[in-house]
């Protein structure tokens, strides 16, 4: 986050240096700043800034894919006659996530295949999820696990 702010600062600096005060100047400065910080942050302990941007891209691609899959699934259910759902409310443990992470996870769950976040327990330990296709409870939980793991690993490291 600190490095991201630094990246924005570098972009603004770039605009002033060349006197290009438009969106292209900002974009060029941002890309160059990103490359620079990606190299510099390799020498710093802990975080790698270059990897972060890549992770963000990779997560976005994954998210877009499951979003479209979710919609095709709902579309198929709606267009074909009869119902093939096997819905349940399942409880999903969310220990160790911060409020911000929890909100992002709940939003992502709502937008991914067959699941809709419905409630958080009073003590904040469980998220209740309405699953459309949960014939087998363990499979549904496994899908949520994959989403959570990718999110924590690629978005919040």
């Amino acid at each position: 986050m600190r490095l991201f702010l630094f990246n924005v600062l570098l972009a603004v600096l770039w605009m002033f240096m060349w006197g290009i005060f438009d969106i292209y100047g900002l974009a060029a400065g941002f890309v160059l700043g990103y490359l620079l910080l990606g190299v510099v942050s390799r020498t710093m302990p802990g975080e790698s800034y270059g990897r972060k941007g890549w992770n963000l891209l990779s997560f976005s691609a994954y998210f877009l894919r499951i979003l479209i899959k979710a919609n095709l699934q709902v579309a198929k259910e709606i267009i074909t006659p009869g119902y093939q759902m096997s819905p349940r409310f399942i409880r999903y443990p969310i220990d160790g996530l911060s409020d911000f992470q929890l909100t992002s996870l709940a939003n992502a769950i709502t937008l991914t295949p067959g699941t809709l976040s419905a409630d958080v327990s009073e003590d904040g330990r469980f998220l209740y999820v309405h699953c459309m296709y949960a014939q087998d409870r363990e499979d549904a939980v496994k899908e949520l696990d994959e989403l959570r793991d990718r999110m924590v690993k690629e978005l919040f490291t």
């Binding site: 969106i23 919609n71 579309a75 259910e77 709606i78 349940r88 399942i90 939003n107 937008l111 409630d119």
Partner: protein, 124 residues
């Protein structure tokens, strides 16, 4: 602007429009057709999010051939709207589902289990 570029942009616009309209329609039909409230929220949240994204992308392509200032204006605003609706839409759906469950909105008879109900009953 060359004719071919214009044609490619037009094709992209039409494709994005069809994509968005399809999911919007599916969302609307789903609201009428699915068996209980929770399923309808599924259709209303997923379908409309992707549908609106498609329509906004179509607007970006379609208006990007106008003069530069208009095009930039449209593109930045459409991007912001897409981002914000990805945050706002699921939150609305979450609250609807939560309120419905608090109000004991009836579930479809095919519902297999309701662990939320079990836990609320246990804690009260």
């Amino acid at each position: 602007m060359h004719d071919t570029t214009q044609m490619i942009l037009d094709l992209l616009t039409v494709a994005a429009l069809l994509f968005g309209l399809f999911f919007m329609t599916v969302g609307a039909v789903g609201l009428a057709r699915l068996p209980d409230f929770y399923h309808r929220v599924h259709a209303g949240s997923k379908g409309v999010t992707l549908g609106l994204t498609g329509l906004l992308v179509a607007a970006m392509f379609g208006l990007s051939t106008h003069q530069e200032a208009t095009a930039l204006n449209v593109i930045t605003k459409a991007t912001l709207v897409i981002l914000f609706q990805f945050v706002a839409n699921p939150v609305g759906a979450h609250l609807l589902a939560k309120a419905a469950h608090l109000d004991r909105c009836p579930m479809w008879e095919g519902t297999l289990s309701d662990e939320l109900e079990e836990d609320t009953a246990a804690s009260s």
